[in-house]
């Protein structure tokens, strides 16, 4: 080896090392700072408009005054019905995957594939599905049998149903994780005492993973509350004279409210401060749910390790 190449090599290596160590560090810190700035931006602009009145009043004067209570109400009702519809199905699927399915079974793999695919379907396609299936097929079906005309229209129920399908993978994944943390000894003990498989699941496994099911529901709600695209055509409206009081009513929605206000408002500049506040409320709603779920999850993991 001649001395020249020996002298050159470390030099080149130093440059490489600089980038190889520097770029990842830079990216990671840049990302964290970016996210913190983003959060700070919304808190900074959103806080001034926050008040009790803002949370409890209806919008007035083209959304430049008043509050967003109907939108909060609509969103909360929506995600509540959504979880009533979606969580039982998601939990049952998770029970199948964790308790009944054999690793090699074709059906189990198909279910897993279905869940993963469902998680990747664009949310707007769920909106079209809501129109095509829930409104035009099921709703129309109910209408023709009953002779009514309210079921085939956009409504709270169909929006909740659409969202429950969208959030199904979230429920399944986190409930399955919770079921898997239930110690195998508990199942064995229950079976050894003569309980059947279903009794074991119903009386031992599920009660022990109740917090996990709760986490799944909360995560799904957090996700569902922020989704706008699926509910644009199946029930969300920009303004309503009164609060929805039946499943077939339409409703105001936080995310949709923000979208319409931002893009179609006649006086966007004046409405901007309150819009930031609406955005902050939506963010707080989503994050408080996510953080709660995260804390519960951490506790489960700690208890089991």
């Amino acid at each position: 080896m001649n001395p020249e190449s020996v002298a050159q090599k470390p030099n080149k290596k130093n440059v490489l090392e600089f980038f190889a160590l520097g770029l990842p560090a830079f990216s990671a810190y840049a990302l964290i700072i970016l996210i913190i700035l983003l959060l700070a931006h919304f808190i900074w602009h959103g806080m001034p408009g926050m008040s009790w009145a803002f949370l409890t009043e209806s919008p007035r004067n083209n959304n430049t005054e008043g509050g967003i209570f109907p939108a909060i109400y609509g969103t909360v009702i929506l995600v509540f019905i959504m979880s009533l519809l979606g969580v039982p199905i998601g939990t049952a699927t998770a029970v199948y995957l964790s308790e009944y399915a054999k690793q090699s079974s074709v059906f189990a793999r198909a279910v897993r594939f279905g869940v993963n695919t469902l998680a990747g379907v664009p949310s707007i396609v769920f909106g079209l599905f809501g129109v095509g299936f829930f409104m035009q097929f099921i709703g129309k079906g109910i209408d023709t049998t009953l002779g009514s005309d309210m079921w085939s229209k956009p409504s709270l129920l169909w929006s909740a149903a659409t969202l429950s399908v969208l959030t199904l993978p979230v429920v399944i994944v986190s409930v399955e994780e919770a079921l898997r943390t239930v110690p195998q000894e508990l199942r064995a003990a229950s079976l050894a005492l003569g309980a059947t498989k279903w009794q074991t699941i119903w009386k031992v496994v599920l009660p022990n993973s109740l917090t996990g099911i709760l986490t799944g529901s909360i995560l799904a709600i957090g996700r569902g509350a922020g989704e706008v695209a699926p509910v644009i055509f199946v029930g969300a409206v920009y303004s309503l004279p009164e609060l929805p009081d039946s499943l077939t009513d339409q409703f105001m929605h936080m995310g949709y409210h923000i979208y319409v206000l931002a893009t179609q408002s006649p006086n966007a500049a004046e409405a901007l401060p309150l819009q930031y506040s609406s955005t902050l409320v939506l963010l707080l709603l989503a994050f408080s749910l996510n953080i709660t779920a995260g804390l519960i999850r951490m506790r489960i993991r700690k208890n089991n390790s």
């Binding site: 990216s27 993963n116 664009p122 707007i124 699941i201 119903w202 995310g255 931002a262």
Partner: protein
């Protein structure tokens, strides 16, 4: 003894057990069923377009023979069902003027669904979606992957426990909020920056043109600042923010899943920490990284709210990243609410939905069947 145990179990319990298991199985099949339902019912609403092509052309021929018989097409309606009837006459008249088949219309390069002569060319929508997806990936992928490398290999344990939840916060941002952020804030920043970065962009474009001389003019066009406020660049930043958590999380998981023995072996052979990370661990986790990028593409391709709010929504056909675009998802999002139900336009919007669904399905199938299997096989026995 065994017989005794069997006797003790009442018949009702055995039947109950049977129903419980099959009830659970049946419910579990829901996810698969929904995939089929999505496909069938989005397809069904687009049906007037796909199955109706021949039928829609037929009355036109009959019309020529029989003269102006406007009632004919309304009666002649075997497949679309009652919704289509309302719109049928209008549809026919527009058809007659164009004298083009609907597929020719779809392959056109003008998207102008409202007007006397509606044009449904989906090429600008497709190119717009691809363009904005590319911008988003170009911005998000390096940042997310490098950050994942840092988090998986270089960061201290405590720092790592900070990075992951922080990125999860970004994942928790509803897309409408990110869209709003682009609409109000990012666009100002971009417009501010673009006033003085044209020379830099020129240099970048000629650099790319130097590497790929055949596409020189293409790159020059792609990086020319325009006077438009909202553009695929602004939208791409927003989509990038939405895509970063996906790419980061999956890449991080893939990198962490590489067996520790790989790292130990590499270090024992005298490689440094960064050489181990880039030359041993990263290649080993490559399928996972590919999966991350693919899923990122899927997300950016189908994202609605950000595209709807920040890209300008003009169906321009150009490769300039500073021109506004109208993506497939944004088109569905903004037009489905106002379209007359059952009309040709309505069918076409559902057809766009099918396109989105097929793209996302394909991407998922590739990651599920190809990439993950490869990854699993690679680390078996490790």
């Amino acid at each position: 003894m065994a017989q005794f145990l069997h006797k003790k179990r009442p018949k009702s319990q055995i039947i109950g057990e049977f129903f419980a298991e099959w009830g659970i199985r049946l419910t579990a099949s829901f996810s698969i069923v929904v995939i089929f339902l999505i496909f069938i019912f989005v397809f069904r609403e687009a049906g007037g377009l796909i199955f109706g092509t021949a039928k829609e052309l037929k009355p036109k021929v009959e019309k020529k023979v029989e003269g102006a018989d406007d009632l004919k097409p309304e009666i002649y309606n075997p497949e679309t069902g009652e919704i289509a009837k309302i719109k049928e006459p209008e549809k026919k008249s527009s058809k007659k003027k164009e004298e083009k088949s609907i597929w020719e219309n779809l392959a056109g390069d003008v998207w102008q669904p409202v007007g006397k002569e509606p044009k449904y060319g989906i090429l600008p929508l497709l190119s717009g979606t691809i363009k904005v997806t590319l911008v988003a990936l170009f911005l998000a992928t390096p940042l997310a992957i490098f950050a994942a490398i840092y988090s998986a290999f270089f960061a201290s344990r405590r720092l790592r426990e900070w990075i992951k939840p922080t990125v999860e916060i970004l994942a928790g941002f509803p897309s409408v909020v990110l869209g709003f952020f682009c609409l109000v804030t990012i666009v100002k920043g971009v417009n501010f920056i673009t006033t003085f970065i044209q020379p830099g962009l020129d240099a970048f474009a000629s650099g790319l043109g130097y590497i790929m001389p055949f596409a020189d003019s293409f790159f020059r066009e792609a990086f020319t600042i325009s006077e438009f406020h909202y553009s695929s660049f602004v939208g791409g930043i927003g989509l990038g923010l939405a895509v970063i958590p996906i790419i980061f999380t999956i890449t991080e998981d893939a990198l962490s899943a590489v067996p520790k023995s790989y790292r130990e072996a590499s270090l024992a052979l005298g490689a440094t920490e960064w050489e181990t990370a880039f030359k041993v661990m990263l290649p080993a986790a490559l399928p996972g990284v590919v999966a991350a990028v693919l899923l990122g593409i899927g997300r950016a391709f189908g994202e609605t709210m950000i595209a709807l709010m920040a890209t300008g929504n003009a169906a321009l056909m150009s490769w300039n990243i500073f021109h506004p675009v109208r993506t497939l998802a944004a088109t569905i999002g903004s037009e489905t609410g106002e379209v007359q139900w059952g009309s040709l336009h309505y069918n076409i919007l559902f057809f766009l939905g099918i396109l989105l669904f097929i793209v996302s399905f394909t991407i998922n199938a590739i990651t599920e069947l190809f990439v993950k299997k490869y990854l699993a096989k690679k680390f078996q026995g490790a």
